[in-house]
Amino acid sequence: MKAKIISNSCVKGPCYKLLLKPLNPVKSVPGQFLMIRPGASDGPSDPLLPRPFSIHRATTDDHIEVLYKRVGKGTAILASLSAEGELEILGPLGNGFVFDGVAAAKEVVVVAGGIGVAPMLGLVETLRAGYPEKEIRVFLGGRGEVDLLCVEELKAVSTEVILATNDGTMGFKGYVTEALEKHLSQSLITHHSSLVTPIIYACGPSPMLQRISEITEPLRIESYFSLEANMACGIGLCMGCAIRSRDGKGYYLVCTDGPVFRGESVDLSGNPPQSPFNKGGD
């Protein structure tokens, strides 16, 4: 589907915000994503494939915001596009976040690393609208201050925003997962009950998500991760976006089974599987 570019501009460092008006209204839930082809569909064949981007925010007037980081050829082309142009998009795709456990949870904890914040602002806004009284604590991490995005917007809709940077240029100095761990252990001590636990939503680099698993699984905290994988199609055709399932028996497809997964269902270790699955073929 064609979408008109309403605006496209740098928000901070290498990060841009793209406001799109799709030809037909798109109904989405937080955590879903779009495939966006950089450049015209009958244009040059490099870059070839469309790129996956989270729906950052779906506005009430059927516009879609995408928050993206310029990292390679595709996002470089995106960053060069000017308003009034058009883009080919496909979506909304994927499952989106699940809210079943929110009502019963002690608090909602949202963890985002770097550009991983992209799907999280819409999530927090939706949560706030649905659960006005809920405590929502957002942990935002990055290498430095420049990586921390949407801080004000998040503050407006959450109970607390905790910042962490590796270089200490803003907030807690260290990994965001250290800040998270500290918070969780304190809150467990304070409450003395492990029956009512927080619910966690996270998006960011694999090592961050893995660390969160290590912290939350012993505490039996329900966690949802929005995952990334190389994608060719985004709609279940290519089977390229596999992520190993924790039971070791097979794979999920990030595009259709996800991108949101229960933390304990996926294997983010990157280690080769035990059984010799490898085949040379396509």
Binding site: R37, S41, D42, S45, D46, P47, L48, L49, P50, E88, L90, A229, N230, M231, A232, C233, I235, G236, L237, C238, M239, G240, C241, A242, I243, R244, K249, G250, Y251, T256, P272, P273, F277, N278, K279, G280, G281, D282
Partner: protein
Amino acid sequence: MKPDLSIEIAGIKLRNPVMLASGTARYGEEISHHCDLNQIGAIIVKGIALKPTPGNPPPRICETPSGMLNAIGLPNIGVDAFIKEKLPFLRQFDTRVLVNIFGSTVEEYGEVAGRLEGVDGVDGLEVNISCPNVKEGGIAFGTDIGITRRVVQTVRRATTLPVIIKLSPNVTDIASFAKVCEEEGADGLSVINTLLGMSIDPKTWRPRLANITGGLSGPAIRPVAIRMVWQVHNAVRIPVIGMGGIVTTEDAVEFFLAGASAVAIGTANFINPKVSLEISEGLERYLESRGLKNITELIGAVKTA
């Protein structure tokens, strides 16, 4: 009068000569939400083996200049589950279904073919010989002419269905493989499967695919595919299904001119899952604008003299 896009290939009558290439449309369900299967010539389903297999660990794909590498590892649900769980969906559509089959031994090819014999909704077999031969050292069946011959013989004996052999491009002389397939009774040839490639990330020093090497597809390989379709068309009389890097109508025309009787769209489905419909409409307009009545007028019509 509208030009006639219909064609009979390997005994299979097609509404139009545009197919979905194996491995790029799964078993039809996902793509059916974007592309009306009633309007395409045929769907060639993702490779099916005797037993289910989960495929390779990630990363399974990466982009390359005007192409992509994949090492999906042929995940499949197994032939029995395919017949029970996937075929019924496809039978709802007025299109042709070619089942892409593979095996890890020559015998397995025969067994899979045998199971599909007489199954309602299967119009033909496309035999993928680009996968590793587990019993005989792991080299691809399709890169050894003797093993290729045995696979064709075995499948031919196991079925009365139209048999289309999908040739590997990773060979010195593709025409000689084509001839062997024709000799052993193949009804048609698919040309080409992916080129074996590799890519390394200069940041991590790791291969970009967990499987180290993978298959190169997309526009990057089109010149190689066109050359091979032309060579095969000149070497045999059985029809050729041309594929490799088709994105636009003009790309498809190139394949017909080189000698293809039908085309299959692979990687381009990932860019635009409606593209095969657009190409079949584009072919109609192309013929119309040149006053041609029949798609057959293009086949092998390249002017080389």
